[in-house]
């Protein structure tokens, strides 16, 4: 039991931190521009595919550095020539634009890279077991993933709270007009933040690609979960996104690791249902079975009872 608990925690943390790298960019973009970027996970996928192509010629490490830059520049260009234009038509138009963008990126990835899964491998230097516990290895690469994500969190926190640019960004979030009046180029800041956010998503893709498989559906799998995290954590709150990411990661991991189901719950109350009961499907539910939909359940509950999210302050 202990071994399952320890590994479930480790797995949850790895997933949670990975989700955070996506959620961080998304929540920054949201708090600045007020637009929930539906295509965010698509940039994550682009990161993985770019890094895969680069790694074929220059190895993993070059891909790690260059792919997020490519994705970031692409993101900035899309903001400059697409999103900014749509901005005039209102928030719904923006949301719909990113929705269409997600669709287009997925199709483009299939166009350029094909539909098969890609053989994107982690670097040989990290191809060893960091430690072995109860017969299961924890690979060094997963350790590396944790290190990168924690590094990003600390770095982001430092930039946003301790540097001049961070202060300008924070000001632009709450008082864009005042910041513009002070002589700062707000559109440029927006473009920069969008680029940085997408680059972060790209970086997440680069490091997740080798372990979570690089295939055209990888964005869809993560897309809506990242949304859920940002909303649960509180729109615009970096710390909230961090907590919510870990929460969701651990929640899913523990749910899968557990073996309890409705049957056990009913047994506690001494209720028993025949197998041919019309609601047999409901009584037979197990926690691992519904693990992937738990975040959505949480989302609805949070929105009903605390629409601002865990750490959110602002309501539209």
């Amino acid at each position: 039991m202990l071994d399952v608990l320890i590994f479930a925690t480790l797995n949850g943390v790895v997933t949670g931190l990975l989700l955070f790298m996506l959620a961080a960019g998304l929540t920054l973009i949201f708090s600045m521009m007020g637009v929930l970027n539906f295509a965010h996970a698509s940039f994550y996928m682009l990161g993985a595919y770019c890094a895969y192509s680069i790694s074929l010629y220059f190895g993993f490490w070059v891909g790690l550095l260059v792919a997020p830059l490519i994705v970031g520049v692409l993101g900035a260009l899309i903001e400059r020539y697409g999103l900014r234009r749509v901005h005039q038509s209102g928030h719904v138009a923006e949301l719909v634009f990113t929705f269409g963008l997600a669709f287009l990126i997925e199709e483009s990835v299939q166009f350029f890279w094909g539909r098969d899964t890609k053989n994107y491998q982690s670097p040989d230097i990290l191809d060893f077991a960091l430690f072995t516990l109860f017969g299961q290895e924890f690979s060094a690469y997963r350790g590396f993933m944790i290190a990168i994500s924690v590094g990003i969190f600390i770095g982001l926190y430092f930039v946003l709270t301790r540097t001049r640019i961070g202060i300008i960004i924070q000001a632009a979030i709450t008082h864009p007009k005042t910041v513009a009046n002070l002589g700062h180029n707000v559109p440029l800041i927006f473009m920069g933040v969008f680029g940085a956010g997408t680059a972060l998503a790209g970086l997440a893709g680069v490091i997740a690609g080798p372990v979570l498989t690089t295939f055209p559906g990888m964005a869809v799998v993560l897309g809506s979960i990242v949304f859920v995290i940002v909303v649960i954590g509180g729109l615009g709150s970096l710390a909230g996104a961090f907590i919510a990411s870990l929460l969701i990661g651990l929640l899913q991991s523990y749910a899968i690791a557990s073996d309890v189901g409705m049957q056990d719950l009913l047994n506690v109350f001494g209720i028993d249902f025949p197998y041919d009961h019309p609601l047999a499907d409901l009584w037979g539910l197990t926690l691992p079975q519904i693990a992937p939909i738990l975040p959505f359940l949480l989302l609805i509950l949070v929105l009903i009872f605390r629409p601002t999210g865990l750490l959110g302050k602002r309501e539209e």
């Binding site: 929930l36 963008l101 009903i304």
Partner: protein, 409 residues
């Protein structure tokens, strides 16, 4: 518009609906018309939410699917003779169940509009789609459930075995639904929905609960989505999980948006356009989804009011009788723009064709020849240049057609 004029629009609509299968009577054409009929009701119901009520939903397929599932269960009951009625009422059963689902979900989701509403709809959509795979008894797992529409009493001797018979039934329901959805926009509830969409605070000041108004629109929208689901069940005689998942929700958003949100006719245009793309284009190119994505993004960027909005832009010029002045500038820009698009599509297909020769526009292109690529790129570049050169003239013509000179005032 006078009442007579209004009535003639409706009569024309009904006539088109009824005459279509007379003009095109192949099995494929009937199949496409059936799809269109379903899509029109579904897209119109979505527009009640987003276009008229300002509620962006990412889970509208839930009501469509729920209506459809109950409709198929009703068909199964007819088959086992548990109940006895003509299948022409099946869409209504779907609609009522859609309404029921909307009442339940709307009771907590319509409290807020905007992002909160959008996120709740997303969550519920995912939740129901996932549950549909878990509760096999009601939803039938990934294979769905299937019924037979030929049971129950016949309707004036029609047993609805043939698709064309179902089309006429669907056309009837489409017409009735369209009329009622239009009438809804004219009721105080419909008008208030617009007010709440534009400014909920002011709407509350004049004594309306924004939440209540949203709830009513939401329920009405669920009702018509359920009717569309019931039509789906009648046409295909089965329904599966994919009919209530996020992809279906996304498609209806696409339809309504491309067609034009602000206009009542917009979703109808979008539904027709997307059905044609989905059922016909996909047989000519594997890349149709790519083109659909591009079309969608271009629409959002350049036609924020959709195709209906684009048509309505010409109203002033039409009224002033200046539409004729626009024809030549449109052709001047349109022909090179079309050439550019077509050569771009040829290039994309050529990249995709890899080594094989490509048959396109009645030509055969060989990707291994460098000349093919050079010629296509030159054509595309020239066409782009032509488009850009002629744009200012188009703008000027547009301006003069729509700008009322001082002496006319």
């Amino acid at each position: 518009m006078t009442l007579l004029k209004k009535m003639s629009v409706w009569v024309a609509y009904l006539a088109v609906l009824l005459l279509l299968p007379q003009l095109f009577d192949s099995i494929l054409a009937i199949s496409v018309f059936n799809q269109m009929a379903i899509a029109i009701v579904f897209a119109l119901s979505y527009n009640m939410l987003l276009g008229q009520g300002g509620m962006l939903s990412f889970g509208h397929a839930v009501y469509f699917g729920m209506g459809g599932f109950l409709a198929v269960h009703a068909l199964l009951m007819l088959e086992t003779e548990t109940v006895h009625f003509s299948i022409i009422w099946i869409p209504l059963i779907g609609g009522l169940f859609g309404l029921l689902a909307a009442i339940f979900i709307g009771s907590f989701s319509t409290r807020k509009a905007g992002t909160v509403f959008a996120m709740i709809s997303l969550g519920i959509g995912e939740l129901i789609a996932a549950s549909s795979l878990i509760f096999v008894d009601f939803f039938g797992g990934e294979a769905g459930i299937s019924g037979d529409r030929t049971y129950g009493p016949t309707f004036f001797g029609i047993d609805f075995a043939q698709n064309v018979e179902v089309y006429y039934l669907a056309a009837g329901w489409v017409f009735i639904s369209t009329v009622f959805m239009y009438l809804f926009t004219q009721t105080p509830a419909g008008r208030m929905a617009n007010a709440v969409r534009d400014n909920p605070v002011r709407a509350e000041f004049i004594g309306y609960s924004a939440r209540h108004v949203r709830f009513i629109s939401f329920c009405a929208s669920g009702l018509f989505a359920g009717i569309a689901g019931g039509l789906f069940a009648l046409n295909y005689e089965f329904i599966t999980e994919e009919n209530l998942n996020a992809a279906t929700s996304g498609r209806v958003l696409l339809m309504a948006y491309i067609g034009g949100l602000g206009y009542f006719i917009g979703p109808i245009i979008g539904a027709v356009l997307l059905t044609l793309m989905n059922s016909l284009l996909s047989n000519y190119t594997e890349l149709w989804m790519l083109y659909l994505g591009i079309l969608f993004l271009l629409t959002v960027m350049f036609l924020p009011r959709g195709f209906a909005g684009f048509i309505m832009m010409h109203q002033l010029a039409w009224v002033r009788g200046k539409l004729r002045d626009l024809v030549v500038p449109y052709l001047m820009t349109g022909i090179p723009a079309l050439t550019f698009m077509l050569s771009l599509i040829a290039l994309i297909e050529l990249v995709h064709a890899e080594a094989e020769s490509l048959h396109i526009y009645g030509l055969t292109l060989d990707p291994s020849l460098e000349g093919t690529w050079i010629v296509l790129v030159v054509i595309a570049a020239a066409a782009l240049y032509g488009t850009r050169r002629s744009l200012p003239q188009l703008r000027a013509a547009w301006h003069s057609a729509n700008h009322i000179p001082d002496e006319e005032r």
